[in-house]
Symmetry: C3
Subunit: 468 residues, 3 copies
Amino acid sequence: MSDLLFPAEPGQRSIARELYGLARDQPLISPHGHVDPALLADDEPFPDPARLIIVPDHYLTRMLLSQGIPPGRLGVPSRDGSPVEADGRAIWRLFAEHWHLFRGTPSRLWLEQSLSSVFGVTTRLSPATADSVYDEVAARLAEPAFRPRALFERFNIEVLATTESPLDDLAAHAKLAADGWGGRVISTFRPDDVVDMEFEGWASRVGQLGELTGEDTGTYKGYLAALRSRREAFIAAGATSSDHGHPTARTLCLSPVEAASLFARGLRGEADAADAETFRAHMLVEFARMSIEDGLVMQLHPGAVRNHNRWLHAAHGRDVGGDLPQATEYLHALTPLLDAYGNDPRLRVVVYTLDEYTFSRELAPIAGGYAAIYLGAPWWFLDSPEVLRRFREAVTESAGFYNTAGFVDDTRAFCSIPVRHDVARRVDAGFLARLVAEHRLPFDEAAETIVDLAYRLPKRVFRLGDAA
Amino acid sequence: MSDLLFPAEPGQRSIARELYGLARDQPLISPHGHVDPALLADDEPFPDPARLIIVPDHYLTRMLLSQGIPPGRLGVPSRDGSPVEADGRAIWRLFAEHWHLFRGTPSRLWLEQSLSSVFGVTTRLSPATADSVYDEVAARLAEPAFRPRALFERFNIEVLATTESPLDDLAAHAKLAADGWGGRVISTFRPDDVVDMEFEGWASRVGQLGELTGEDTGTYKGYLAALRSRREAFIAAGATSSDHGHPTARTLCLSPVEAASLFARGLRGEADAADAETFRAHMLVEFARMSIEDGLVMQLHPGAVRNHNRWLHAAHGRDVGGDLPQATEYLHALTPLLDAYGNDPRLRVVVYTLDEYTFSRELAPIAGGYAAIYLGAPWWFLDSPEVLRRFREAVTESAGFYNTAGFVDDTRAFCSIPVRHDVARRVDAGFLARLVAEHRLPFDEAAETIVDLAYRLPKRVFRLGDAA
Amino acid sequence: MSDLLFPAEPGQRSIARELYGLARDQPLISPHGHVDPALLADDEPFPDPARLIIVPDHYLTRMLLSQGIPPGRLGVPSRDGSPVEADGRAIWRLFAEHWHLFRGTPSRLWLEQSLSSVFGVTTRLSPATADSVYDEVAARLAEPAFRPRALFERFNIEVLATTESPLDDLAAHAKLAADGWGGRVISTFRPDDVVDMEFEGWASRVGQLGELTGEDTGTYKGYLAALRSRREAFIAAGATSSDHGHPTARTLCLSPVEAASLFARGLRGEADAADAETFRAHMLVEFARMSIEDGLVMQLHPGAVRNHNRWLHAAHGRDVGGDLPQATEYLHALTPLLDAYGNDPRLRVVVYTLDEYTFSRELAPIAGGYAAIYLGAPWWFLDSPEVLRRFREAVTESAGFYNTAGFVDDTRAFCSIPVRHDVARRVDAGFLARLVAEHRLPFDEAAETIVDLAYRLPKRVFRLGDAA
C-alpha cells in the first residue's frame, strides 16, 4: 500500500495506513459531478490521450495560461477564430514541457495517480517521456477494458450523479435506464439557467421550460409549476438532489406578489443586476419549500465570479478556467432561509465554499447549530490535500464530522474520479490518525468514522439509500 | 502523565511533556467566566448528572439540535410550552446515543476529561454504558467532596471571576465575603444590559440603575455617575475588570453634548439600530476613560449575533446555543479608542474574537503596536485545541507571547474549568516544544514562558496581584 | 549545518537538510528593499550597535512600545521635542531587558542569527550579557571587514535593489556606478509621493518632477511624460522594477480626459479622499501601460494604513512602527487592470499582501489564471517562518511554485539580509521536504525547485538577467 499523503511521523503514519485500509475499498459515492451521461449511455471508446485528459481540464489549461501559453495551443476550441492545435500528440508534448508548473498541485497528483492506477502507466511524465506516455495511454484506450462502462465497474462506483438543466430532456439517462446495463447513474436538478436573469437568453429559456412542461411560464405561478414538474421528472431519473451555483449565498423571502412582479419585470427585459440577485435569492427559498415537499437535497455552490477572464471568455467561451472565487458571506446571506426552514429536519442544504476563510467563523457554527445545514467538501480551487486537511482542522471542532456531507468529486474528468476520492480518504485518514496519536479519539471510533466519511455519510446525507 | 494533545513526534512530545510538567500544577487563574456565584455562596450539592452537565451546556444541546433533536428532549427549559424532558436519566441516555457526534470536538475532550479527572469515572461513554456512567457520577455528586467549595479547592483555583450586570446587588459575593470561607471569587462589571439600547427593557433598566445608585439616570450625566458608582461597588466586591459584549468592535468619541442627546433619544424610545450602535461605540470610549481612572481592565467580546436561531430563541430563550459568529473588523473599529488612549499604559483592553481570520491581519499587529491592547484567548467557538494552536502560530510572530492575556475559560460549567485550563496548557506546551525542537527558542526560555502563560501573565494582565 | 527551522520529524528533517544544502550557497537576489544606497556608495563604517541594529528597526521599537516603552528611550529621533536617549549603550541595555518579548518572533531569529553569522557573536543576549554583546559587536564594527561593501561581498549578494522616489537624483547610484567597485546595486522606481494626492506636499512634488525633467507637469500629459522620463533614468541606473505602495489594490481605467481633469483638480487642491483613491487606481493602469513599453516589472504593495498610531506619528514621524494592515480585497480591485492587460505576457505585476486571508481565495487563483500576475513573498508583518510556511501551503495548490516570485527581504536592515533569505530557504526546504516525505514530489524535482525558489525564479521574474 502506498504511503501517499500520509503524515511522515512513523507512529501517525502507521495509524493512518490502518484507517485508510478500512476506507480504501469502500464503493464510491459520487453525489455531485459533471460527467456527461452520454459518455456512459453511449459507451464509446475515449478519444486520444490529449483530448481525454488535457483539452477538457481547465485546471491544466489555466496553469499554462498563467505562464503565457494560450489555451488554443492546448487544443481548447475557440469561438473567435483564434488558432487551435488539432494534433493530440503536439498538445501532449507542449503540456509535458510545462509539467514542472504542476509541482505541489492536486492536478499533478490526480494525473500521476490516474496514469498509474487507471492506465497502468508508471513512466514519469517529462518532456523526454511525453511520447512514450502518450503511446502507452493511447494503447490502453483502444482496449475494451478502457471503455467508460468497464471503467465505471472497475472504479467500484456505486452511484454517479451527473448534473443537468431543467431544459435537458434526460435522454441519456433514459437510454441508460432502458438498456439494462445496471450502473447507477442519476441526474441532479440544476436550474441556474432558468433562474438567473443574468444568464444569456434567460427569458427564452423560461419559454422553453413552458413548452417542455406544458405550463404557462409567462406567469410566476406557471413558472413554479413548471419547475415542480421538471423536479418530478428528475426524481424519476434518479435525482436525489438539486444544485444551485450562485454568485453569492444570499437568500430572501419575497411575498408571492413581489416575486410575481419581479418575475414579470425580468421577462419584460427590465430587470437590472440587483433584481437578478434578488430573484436568485428568493428562488433559493422557493426551492427549499419544494425540497421539503419532494425530498431533493439542495446543494448551494456560491462564490464564483464566472468568466472573470474576459479575453478567455471571448476567445474560448465558458468553463475553460476563467472563473475566480470571491469573498463569500454566509451568515447574513443565509438568515432568511434559516429563519424560515433552518430547523426543519426535512430540509437538507449542503453548503459549499470557495472561501476557506469562512470555515471556522461561519460555516462550521451554522452547520453545528441548524438541523438543515450540512457542509460540503472543499470545492474547486480548494479541492486539494492541503485544504481537505485544513477543512477538517477548521470545522470539526464546531460541527463535528457528522454535519459534513462526505467527499464530492465535482468533476467532469471521469478517469480522475477514483483518485480524487482516494486523496480525500487518505487525508481524512491522516487527520483521524493525528486525533488517535494525540489521544483525542480511540482507534475504534476513528475506524468507524473513516468508513462513515468515505461511504455511509454521503450516502445518507444525499438520500442515496440506506447505508447499513 | 497522559500525552493527551501532545504532538506525536517523539522528540517534540518529550519536550512538550517536560514543559507541561512545569505548568500543570500552577494555580488556576480564571479572570473571566460565567459561573453563578450563588453556587459557591450556597455550596449546595449539584443536581443530577444531566442537569449538571448536559442541560446548561449549549455546546452539547446545539450539536444535537444540528441533527434534529430539539433541546426540550435534553431538558432545556422552554418558554413557549413545548415539551421538556424532566427525567435526568432519560436525558443522559438520549445524549449518550448521540455521543459520536462529538468526535473531534472540544466538548468531547472536556466531558471525558472531567468525568475521569473530576469524578474518577473512566468507563467510556456510549449508549451501552450510559446508565452506569450516570450512576457513577450521581454517586459522586452525593458525596461532600463533590460540593462546589470542595471542588474549588481541589481544582486549585486561585481566583475565579464571575460576571454580573451593574443591576446585580452582588449579594452572593457579599455572602461569600462574609462567611469567611476564603476562596477568592470576584465579580466582573458587565454593563451591556444598561448600555445596549437594543437590549429588551433597556430604558427601564436604566431607571433601575438610578434607583440602585441614587443618581438621576434620566440625564446622561447622572447615568455616567451611576455607572461610576456601580464600578466602585464592583471593585469593592473584588472586580478587577469589566466586560463588554458588543455585536461589533466599533468605538466612537461623541462630544458630551452629542452623547447626552443620543442618550435622551434612547430613553424616549426613539433610537434606531444605528443610534444604538453609535451609543455602544461611544460608551466603550467612555468606559476606557473610567478604566484609566479606576483601574478596571476592559474586556471586549465583539462579533456574536445573538439569538440568530429565531425558533430556538422563541422556544427556549437566550444563551441556549442560538448565537452565531459574524465577520468582525477591528482596525477601523478600534481607531477612535486607539487614537484617544491606545498609547496610555494605564489603560488595558483585552480584545477577544470569534473570527480567527483577524489573528495575523489585525489583532496581532494592533496588540504588537499599542500599549493598551492585549489579546484574549480564543473564545467560544474557537475555544478548542486546534484554534488554540493556530492562535499561537498566527499571533506570536507579530505580538509575541507577552501581548497575550493568558487562558480564559469563559465558562458556566464549573466542573469543566480544570480541564479547559489543562487543554490550553497542553497546547501551549506543544507549540513551545515545536519552537524548541526547531531551534527557535532555548528550552530554559520556553520553560519560563509556559509558566508565564499558565499563571503569571493572566495574573498580571488582569491586575489580580503580583505574580512573583 | 544547523537544523534551525527544519521540521522535527527525523525523516523530513533529513530531506530538508539535503534540500537546504542545495540552496544555502546560492547568491542572494534582493529585488526589493530599502537599504540606503549611500551606505554602499560611501562605504563608511557603521555606527554603534544600537544605532545600527535597534534605532532604525521599527519591528524592535514597536514591540517595546506595545509594552509601554516609548521609542525615544530607544533612541528614535523625535520631532516634537520629546526626550531621545543618545547613549547607544543605554539603548542597548534597555532593549536587552525586554529581549524576552521577542520570543517566538522573527525579529529574535534575525537578530540572533545576524549576531552569530555576521558578527560571530554567540553570547546569548540577556540583561546580564547586554554589555558584553554590545562590546563584541562594537569591536567588529571597527574592523574594515565589517564595512558595508565588504559585507556585501561576504553576503554573496548578486544584486541589491534599493527604492527611490522619481524625485531622487540617483546620485548615490551614479557614484556607485562611477567608482568601479562592481557590486550590483540598482534602483527601484517608487512614484507614490508624486502619485498619491494625499501625500503631504503632493502638488509641489509634482512641480519638482517638472523641474527635474523639463516637462510641463502642470498638465496631465506633461506629468505622464515626466514619469516616463524618470523611468528611463531609473532604468539607466539599473532599475528593472517599479513599486507601488497603495492603501488598497484598486485599479481603474479613466479616459485621458477624465484623468486629466482629475489631475487638474488635484493640482488646484480640490481633490478629496475619493478623488485621490481614484487617481491612484487609475495610475496603476497607466503604469501598467508604461511597463509594457519599457519592461519595468510592477510591484504592488497594498493594504497598509500608514501612520495609524497618531501619537507616534506626531512624536516621531513616518516609518517608525505606526503602520497597520487592513483587510485587502484583490479580485474586484484588480479587475480593470486584468481586463486591460492581465493576459499580456509583456506585463509582469508582482502582488504582495499584508492580509494572508486572501492567499487561497484570491491571490493564488488570480496568479494561477493570469499571465501577468506573480505572487510576492509574504511581506512585513507576514515576513516570518510561520507565514512563509502557510504561504506555500495555501498558494501552491492553485498557483504552483512558478507563479510566485521568490523571496524578497524588503528590508532597510542591511546586516539582516542574509539571515532573512536563509530563513526563507529553510522554510521552503521544510515545505518541499514534506511533499517528498508524503510522496507527493520526487526528491530530484524538489531539488530543482528549491534552487529555483532561492535563485533562478526571482532573477527571472524580476528580469535581472538569465538564470542558467
